[in-house]
């Protein structure tokens, strides 16, 4: 159970991360804000039953499912085939690397992108990611493996261009 104070702490602690998570998935600031708003609304509605230690996990679980639903309905996601157009010529390696990686991120499948974001952005372990995405640990590990290799290959191709 969480009270208003704990809830407000959760807003301070997790709203930014939740927003970034949604934004990277949907590429739409308004939709991402809606996801955050709705996630916290649901948290408040369920405050009597949500374990105070699991607030973050609860929020990301809600957000994850909302994102899937939103992406499916709105079809706002960047299509994988469109994501490859990036000008690397002027990119400075270190400064632009994250930008490049974000483009690479869009090339991943939805589930690969999700597990990678949860892993790298939020530092969740396999079990926690599994709880959020309703996958078992082995599946999570496989998806992360595939995502990493895909990202490496994407990055490798760009490095060869240099």
């Amino acid at each position: 159970m969480i009270n208003a104070e704990k809830y407000n702490q959760a807003v301070d602690l997790h709203s930014d991360g939740l927003y970034r998570f949604a934004l990277k998935q949907l590429n739409d600031t308004e939709l991402a804000k809606d996801i955050v708003q709705e996630s916290f609304t649901r948290l408040w509605e369920k405050r009597e039953t949500v374990n105070a230690d699991k607030v973050k996990s609860y929020l990301f679980t809600i957000a994850y499912h909302l994102i899937i639903e939103t992406a499916r309905n709105q079809q706002k996601k960047t299509k994988l085939s469109d994501a490859g157009a990036i000008s690397y010529s002027g990119a400075k390696r270190n400064h632009e690397l994250q930008k490049i990686l974000e483009h690479g991120l869009q090339k991943l499948s939805d589930i690969q992108r999700t597990v990678l974001l949860l892993r790298d952005y939020e530092g969740y372990n396999y079990q926690e990611i599994g709880e959020i995405t309703k996958l078992n640990e082995s599946q999570v590990k496989v998806y992360i493996f595939r995502a990493r290799i895909a990202m490496r290959e994407y990055l490798g191709k760009l490095e060869n261009v240099l």
Binding site: V11, L18, V36
Partner: protein, 364 residues
């Protein structure tokens, strides 16, 4: 013949000949020169004999392969990526880490792949923030507010109890045997409240009177003797003071679950409505009341208490309202062992609505 061998240049031709570096034309020219110059032919014969032949052992195959070092660990091309990702994910044990490092020594390309993989780790852009946090937040309540709420909850509990007692105090008068009449008398003396007790009855244990001090916390607990005790602790004096002691014996009050509890939309004029009594049974050992509804007076009373603290039509007020109602219900539940629940039924058009559900509860 273009090759011209003479006594001034024959040495070079002869050496080439001995080394096998001459073509047919040159060989013919050399042989002709030797015929024409027999003295040189002798020298040539000597040269031929002095030529070192390739020793036998030089043709033998000598291998130094055994000196080479080969990687013989568990990593191979097919599982290399797994090792690299596990390295990145920090999933390798020390033995595996060592194995991978050895592999890197043999296959530097694998090390490059490892470095490339490490670059794929994403970092959140902390410049991206959710800037509407204020809208998400709920208004916190000050501590003094909780004290007020406690008092209100107690008031709600007592109000309801008084209403219940009022109904107890006005039982139908069944036709009773003499024995039953004695029982009835006993019941009447043990179930009364201050507001309804006939003046001629003894009231020492049953009188219910409550004072609210400015800073009073209410502690309510069910005693092991199954009596209902309400203790008031004066926080200011840090002294527990038993204000009153109310005993209800051999009584059982049943509130049947109904589906027609009105939500808070009820008009406040229902505040004084009494529950509709369906059955009112009295026998030797217990007295039972069954209510068809408890909704109107209960819902209205609770909402009125909460409603007093509405200040404006905001989401926070809605929360306060339901909190109050839940608090009051919780206090009642604690006293009675009942299961009254407050459920939110708010909607955009009616942000203050909440429902009340009850299963049966009973005094024992």
């Amino acid at each position: 013949m273009s090759v011209e061998i003479n006594r001034n240049n024959y040495e070079a031709y002869l050496i080439d000949y001995l080394d096998g570096n001459t073509n047919k034309e040159t060989e013919m020219a050399i042989q002709l020169f030797l015929i024409q110059n027999p003295d040189i032919e002798e020298t040539f014969a000597m040269l031929k004999e002095s030529k070192f032949e390739k020793p036998e052992f030089e043709n033998a195959s000598v291998s130094f392969e055994h000196l080479k070092k080969f990687y013989n660990g568990k990593i191979n091309v097919s599982n290399l990526d797994e090792y690299l990702v596990d390295e990145l994910e920090n999933n390798l044990n020390n033995e595996q880490k060592n194995d991978l490092n050895i592999y890197f020594e043999y296959f530097p390309e694998a090390k490059k792949q490892s470095e490339l993989l490490k670059k794929t780790v994403l970092s959140p852009d902390f410049a991206i923030v959710y800037d509407d946090k204020k809208k998400l937040k709920k208004q916190s309540k000050a501590p003094i507010y909780y004290i007020t709420r406690s008092a209100i909850a107690a008031a709600a509990v007592l109000l309801i109890m008084v209403l219940i007692y009022n109904n107890f105090s006005e039982p139908k008068k069944p036709i009773l045997s003499n024995n039953e009449r004695r029982t009835e008398t006993k019941v009447e003396t043990t179930v009364n409240s201050q507001s309804t007790l006939p003046k001629e009855k003894p009231v020492s244990e049953n009188k219910l009177s409550v004072k609210f001090l400015p800073k009073t916390e209410v502690k309510i607990q069910q005693m092991p003797s199954q009596n209902v005790d309400i203790d008031f602790i004066n926080i200011a004096e840090q002294k527990q003071e038993l204000a009153q002691h109310t005993t209800i014996e051999n009584e059982e009050l049943l509130l049947m679950k109904t589906s027609d509890f009105p939500a808070a939309n009820n008009d406040f004029s229902d505040m004084n409505s009494k529950p509709i009594i369906e059955n009112d049974n009295l026998n030797e050992n217990k007295k039972t009341k069954e209510f068809k509804t408890i909704g109107q007076w209960f819902a209205s009373a609770t909402k009125k208490i909460a409603g007093k603290y509405k200040t404006k039509n905001t989401e926070d007020d809605q929360i306060n309202t339901s909190d109050f109602a839940a608090l009051a219900a919780g206090a009642i539940n604690e006293i009675t062992g009942s299961r009254i629940r407050i459920t939110e039924k708010s909607s955009p058009s009616n942000p203050f609505a909440f429902g009340i559900e009850s299963e049966k509860f009973e005094f024992k």
